[in-house]
Amino acid sequence: MPDVDLKLESVRSDFPALHQEVHGKPLVYFDNAATAHKPKAVINAIGKFYYQGNSNVHRGVHALSQAATDQFEAARRNIATFMGAQSPSEIIFTRGTTESINLVASSLGGSILRPGDEILVSEMEHHSNIVPWQLIASSMGATVKAIGVTDSGELDMESFRSLLSDKTRLVAVTHISNALGTINPVEEIISLAHQANVPVLLDGAQAIPHEPVDVFALDVDFYCFSSHKAFGPTGFGVLYGKEALLEMMPPYQGGGDMIDEVSFAGTTFNELPHKFEAGTPHIAGAIGLDAALAYINHVGYDWIGAREHELLNYATRALQSVPGLRIVGTAPDKAAVLSFVLGQNHPYDVGSILDQMGIAVRTGHHCTQPLMKRLGLPGTVRASLAFYNTKEEVDRLVVAVQKAGSMLS
């Protein structure tokens, strides 16, 4: 359809970093699950803030500070609306998904866990959704249990049902797997957990860039994502939490902005969301993410979803035609992530040769060592696509993988 191609061309022209050469070849950027490129709208919003708006938030009486505060809190309201939160006070600004999870682990885990309690994660989690729970569990005498994963890279729901018990205090799973692209049945997970009165945290780092998320409709208790994977700046992220839960949780870090009144007799804390935001926040980060989410709305999740689905099907078929290539992660419901192994070749070798051909992929364990162990692999080569990628780029990947295969044989 010519109109779709026109839109693609226009969308691609919004991302300056896509248009460069690497090792003398036009860049093919297939490392979007690690971080996505930024549209001009985001770069300009951040630039404009530092050029003209720069001031600290919440404290100043002067005009610039008031303007910065207005912009910062408008970003919070927009982000709340974007993900279906009922109130901006349910949106906590963090450094990213990792810090969002650490915040819940430390604050909620540190106040509710008792010896013998259990936290359920899954075998497909990113280390960021495993290690924070291990740290808090070990200090509270609790344990972390892992829901199994099937050979096709899907959550084993039988395993989940059997692990969910009266000892379970929290379920923390990924919405979409970073290593395989599997989209997990989060509605069912939340419903089963809630039947057992257990709150659920979703790691949405890989979901927000690709599909609409409505935390209210999901009835999820905590939802975390990172700005930089959603076309926004690095060093910034979001924790959504249901207000009632956030209210009962103690502060995470102490410092400025999170206090009501400080005295040596005892300090009282600020209201939500500021209770969890100690210190000067990443103001430009909030403004940049606000611009990134506005950009996603402008492009439209319908178009994004349709394009990525088409790219995924095209790339899956094309890669399957390469001799010796095996796609790892074959769930029927998948985001546009193609993890694969090429015969007995080490992913590092394949990735290095692809790099020489101008193609950026990720190789290794993708910070999911338990998953790789479960699948019996040292790692994979991962091509993770975004809506701005093209079928021509997929064709170049296929040629490059074939070349790598012949060079390494």
Binding site: H346, Y348, D349, T363
Partner: protein
């Protein structure tokens, strides 16, 4: 005893050998082929004790010495890393420990393979060079165990 050329001379030869290739594909193919010709490491040294963990690929390193000279045997699970090991060992093996400690290995950076040689690449090679120097320094100070 056969005369071994100096580390500098061996580096120079290697560099000239690689500069014969004018495109990356031939350079990489040569590197991969050198890796395939690497003297095999005995299975008994492919253990955690001899392992140098990289984020991306692993290296196993067996240090050897006769009290004056040092040499190494090594292996990797990745072919490109193995090729890099082959060129490194070709240059430093069978030299006096003191010479290995102070060896100038900047030729590695001139090979146009330098994207593999930065510490951030995490293929274990950078850590391997550090390990080689440490071992050589130990032999230099104390002789063979």
């Amino acid at each position: 005893m056969k005369e071994v050329p100096t580390i500098e001379a061996l580096s120079q030869t290697l560099l000239e050998e690689f500069l014969l290739f004018d495109d990356w594909m031939d350079r990489y193919q040569h590197l991969i082929d050198l890796g395939k010709e690497l003297e095999p490491l005995d299975e008994s040294f492919r253990t955690d004790v001899y392992k140098i963990s990289g984020c991306q690929s692993q290296v196993w390193l067996q240090p050897c010495s006769d009290g004056d000279n040092v040499w190494f045997k090594a292996d990797s699970d990745a072919q490109i890393t193995k090729g890099l090991i082959a060129i490194l060992l070709r240059v430093i093996n069978h030299h006096r420990a003191a010479d290995v400690v102070t060896a100038n290995l900047t030729f590695l950076e001139e090979l146009e393979l330098k994207e593999h040689l930065s510490p951030t690449r995490k293929n274990g090679l950078d850590a391997m060079i550090r390990q080689i120097r440490l071992h050589a320094a130990h032999i230099d100070a104390h002789g063979a165990a």
